[in-house]
Symmetry: C2
């Protein structure tokens, strides 16, 4: 991996990009484009966790603390960027991890499962025996032990259709999405508009310290984020 210079003002952003390019056998090419979209919105956020995102992270902590059967659904981008952060969150929250892909191939599922194994997580995903209703064949596959029976699902960087399908199954859906206007952001119950490796450690810390936040309005939160971005652009 070509490491950017540590004193570069955008070191973290460049490092994330190199991590994705490095893992490009298991990251979909469309995933690289999606990452770029996220980068642009993060740029508008000033590459920091804004206050509305912080309230969403606290609401997510509450939901995970109260959950009976939480599952973290991960895809290529999530594993390439944040496998360690996911491993810690899984340990602290007791949530299972399932590899679940939009561009699903057996090779990608196996490669990503192996990458999670390296950070100590036995991820579900290879033996998909269940389906998410309302999605086309390959995209519907999931595990009955995992997403199939979860009450709360954390799906970072998720596609809009799939997010909506999970909501329609009656699950409480938490997403992490840098685009506050995306269908995923608008459809989930709790949307954390923040960069993955920045918000996951905060989420883990809040769960560990049992710092939740019960009163939360996702529409209001998204509107606050948009206003924050608009103010930053016009200044």
């Amino acid at each position: 991996m070509a490491l950017p210079p540590k004193d570069h003002p955008r070191y973290k952003s460049l490092l994330a990009r190199e991590k994705l390019v490095e893992a490009s056998d298991v990251v979909a090419k469309q995933g690289l484009i999606a990452h770029g979209r996220g980068e642009a919105f993060d740029y508008l956020l000033g590459e920091q966790t804004c206050l509305p995102a912080l309230s969403a992270i606290k609401a997510a902590a509450s939901a995970l603390i109260e959950s009976k059967n939480p599952v973290i659904s991960v895809n290529g981008n999530v594993v390439a960027l944040a496998s360690r952060e996911i491993a810690r969150l899984s340990e602290i929250s007791g949530a299972k991890v399932e590899v679940n892909l939009f561009h699903r191939t057996p090779e990608r599922i196996a490669g990503l499962t192996k990458m999670m194994k390296k950070v100590g997580v036995n991820a579900l995903g290879e033996d998909a025996d269940d389906k998410i209703p309302g999605l086309s064949s390959e995209r519907a596959k999931c595990c009955s032990d995992g997403i199939g029976s979860a009450d709360v699902v954390l799906v970072p960087l998720e596609d809009g259709d799939r997010c909506e399908a999970l909501v329609n199954m009656g699950k409480k859906v938490i997403t992490i999405d840098l685009n506050p206007l995306s269908r995923t952001a608008q459809t989930a119950h709790i949307t954390i508009v923040d960069e993955l490796t920045r918000c996951l450690p905060l989420l883990s810390d809040f769960i560990k310290e049992k710092k939740g936040f019960d009163s939360f309005d996702n529409k209001q939160c998204l509107s606050d984020v948009l206003n924050y971005m608009a103010e930053r652009i016009s200044s």
Copy 2:
């Protein structure tokens, strides 16, 4: 290539994405990420040419009409997305085309030259015998017949360092960049904040009709674009 449904509200955007994935042997992986960043900003523009961009396109038309030796510098993303639009602009403006890459390899240069050949353009780039001062080795290479001796250079989707190096050579630099905050956008003399396949035909039309626009302030134009985006976000 997996064609998106023609009635999809974001057909053009999805088609551009598939074109890049299709051409991924000659498009740098970092180029896919960069495209995603552009997508996000285009989303904020409402995927249409805004009025400030239109004035920049007219200023670019003037500069190209008045130029003695104009050159269009193209990279992997530009060729994958808009080889036909570049060919038409080259024909109408009399500008040469040079393949000039940030992530330069002989294979990519040859592949992109071949793609330009398919649309009738004999692009320079393979026999690089000149250098852009101030850039590191591979990134400095250019052709003395092309960029080396150009008075006006159109460099769509260019890196900030390279844009600055061209300005420092005393060339008039026109760029096309969807991020009005990027260093390229801020450094070029004329920045068209618009999507490539949308603005290139307009630029060609203006040159054909000799519709230029002499009075142009790039800083003001960028500020107008930012205000336009901020208004769209907060509404």
